[in-house]
Every structure is written in C-alpha cells, then in structure tokens.
Symmetry: C2
Subunit: 200 residues, 2 copies
C-alpha cells in the first residue's frame, strides 16, 4: 500500500488553512491516506530566513489581497484575523496530543481550530480558546488544559518541526507525495496531476 | 476597449519565462492586448527585502526542483542556466529600445532572449549576446550595440522598475489585469478565470 500523503501546515497560515479544506478529498479521490503534521513556521523561518507575510513591505499587502481572493475562489469561509500571525504552540500541542490516540479526531480538531481562527476570528494561540474548540469536537476541556501543561506535549511541535525541516519542509502548506515535495495551496493542482499520472 | 493586460517580468526569472510562454495566448483567447514590461528584480528586492532564490537556504533547492517540474508540466524547454541569476540590464534595455518603435518585434525579441537564456544557456547579461539574439529576430546587431550605450536607453529599465513598484509589482511574473494584481506563473489559472468571469 502506498505511504500516506504528508500534509504540513502552520495553524497561523491562511494558505495552510486553504490546503486543509482540500487535502482529504484530494487524497480520497485517489484512494490515499494522509498524515497531518502541524509545524511552527517561526522555527522554519529561522533556518530559511523567511519572515511573516505582514512584515514584508509591499508583499504583505499583496498577500492580504491574494489570500482573500484565493479563499473566495475556493469558496472557503475566510475573515482576516484581527491578530495575525499568532504563535501556534497551543493548537499544535493539542493536535499531537490527540493524534497519537485518534488521528481522525485530531484532523477534525485541526479543521475546527483553523475555522475558529480563520473564519471566526478566535485567537487560538490562547490555551483557553484551543481547549474550547477541542470541547466543541468532543474532547474534554479540562483534559486538554492539563495536557497543554505537560512537558512532553509542550516539546512536541518543536521536535516535529525539526523532523519536517530535515525533509525539506519550508512553508505552509507543504505536501510530500511519494517523496515529491509541493509547497503552497497553489500547487494542489500539480499534486492532483501527480496523483493521477504518477509524475511527469 | 479594455486596457491591455500588463505583463511584468525579469529576464533572469524562470517563472517569468514560464509566464512569457502563455500570456499572449491567454490574452488572445479573450480578445485582449498585452503590454510587456521587463523589470530589474534586484531593485524590487531592495524595496521588498527579497533575495534571489539560489541564495535562500532550503528554498533555493526547492525552487530549482519546482521550476524544472513546472516547465516539464507546461512543456516549456528549460535547462537551468549555468549562471543564475544574472543582471538583466542589457536585455531589458534592448527590449525597451525596440518596444518604443515596434512592440510586436520587441515581444519576439523578449521571447528569443528568454529562450536563449533559459533553454540554450546563453548568457544574455552580455551586451554581445543580447545583440546576437536581436540579430536572430532581424534587428541590426550594430544598431543594438550602439543603442545599448545610449544614456537614455541605459536609464530606461530602472525608470520602468520604479513605475512598476508604484503599481505594487513585487515579483516576476506579475500580471495586472483591469487593476487586479496577480503574482506568479502559478496564478495564471486565476488570471484566466478572472478574464472569463470578470472577477469573483
């Protein structure tokens, strides 16, 4: 059986959010599984010299327009968050804590967290908000709060980001499909073509 | 009549090259004209804080793979130039010098220059090579060499880049369609959709 398609994203990345709304259907269309891997883009930027989009002169303005336009094109509910970007340790920690026991539930949590931040302007960098969103998908809020204080849980996103960097992951979203890397929601059409043809 | 579609590019940009192979057919499909505007990406980077792709850790490696894969997907002849990036004053100057008198010829020159650099590994940063390529599309080589030494011709690409920056042009290729900006060969599908629908 083919290896799962690896889907990397940062919870503060609008393009990652866009990717998250399509990756499951795309994989399912070709009978493939996925693994979702939240990363901390700030750590990636330390290696690549990247910077958050809003800090970039002119590019920031363009990106704001582009991401809203892209979301409209894909019919994805999007409202530019009033605080952007945000640190994403809390949602990433909650994700991995659940993913180890129930990957499908963890994906539902990731989708709910993205929606909360990108469509409802809820600040998921707060452990309280992350726990609240977790409760909305059926996870005990107190258990999430306790897990978020656990040293092993706290260390996980950083470790996962290190593993991702070793695989060449340099942005969000980032897909690795049978060893082939694709960066950006704007490469999803190429991911689909690659799935359909086996590469070119 | 609708305004021409503005197509901005740097002669050292592989993604700009990709865009140059499609923009004319795309515009023609919707009965639209184009204006081509070479820019100097180095001057843009001074404003946006950007850097040439090969200088970026990890991103450079990814970009090399992505541009070659993208070119194969579009069936565009591409061989990574042995010298990359290059300064593009010479080809940009030759372009504008001709464009003022014969825009159609200038586009043919731009296409020939791109092909020479991106498919045949000829170093078009050299005024000699630029003049040689110009001769291949029917422009007198000696006249090109003389023009490239003219102070007004020499100043033109810098001035055009300044005008482009004022319009928010921050990369290559960059399309402005009825006031709407699109950055990247990977936005050409959106450009086409915008042309077909009038926007969304």
């Amino acid at each position: 059986m083919a290896a799962p398609i690896e889907f990397y994203f940062d919870f503060s990345s609008p393009y990652g959010y866009l990717g998250s709304t399509r990756i499951e259907a795309l994989a399912a269309k070709f009978g493939r599984e996925t693994t979702w891997r939240p990363i901390l883009l700030g750590l990636v930027f330390q290696v690549t010299g990247g910077r958050p989009l809003p800090e970039l002169p002119l590019k920031g303005e363009y990106a704001r327009r582009d991401m809203a336009r892209f979301a409209r094109l894909w019919n994805v509910p999007f409202r530019e968050p009033s605080k952007f970007p945000i640190p994403t340790q809390a949602p990433a920690r909650a994700y991995y804590w659940i993913a180890d026991r129930d990957p499908a539930l963890a994906k539902r949590l990731a989708q709910a967290l993205y929606r909360a931040y990108m469509a409802e302007d809820r600040d998921i960098s707060s452990p309280d908000i992350t726990a609240e969103v977790a409760a909305e998908v059926g996870v005990d809020r107190g258990a999430v709060r306790a897990a978020l204080a656990d040293p092993a849980v706290k260390a996980r996103p950083r470790a996962e980001t290190g593993l991702a960097l070793e695989k060449g992951v340099i942005g969000s979203p980032f897909v690795i499909l049978d060893g082939e890397p694709f960066w950006g929601a704007d490469r999803f059409d190429q991911v689909e073509r690659w799935l359909a043809t086996g590469g070119w």
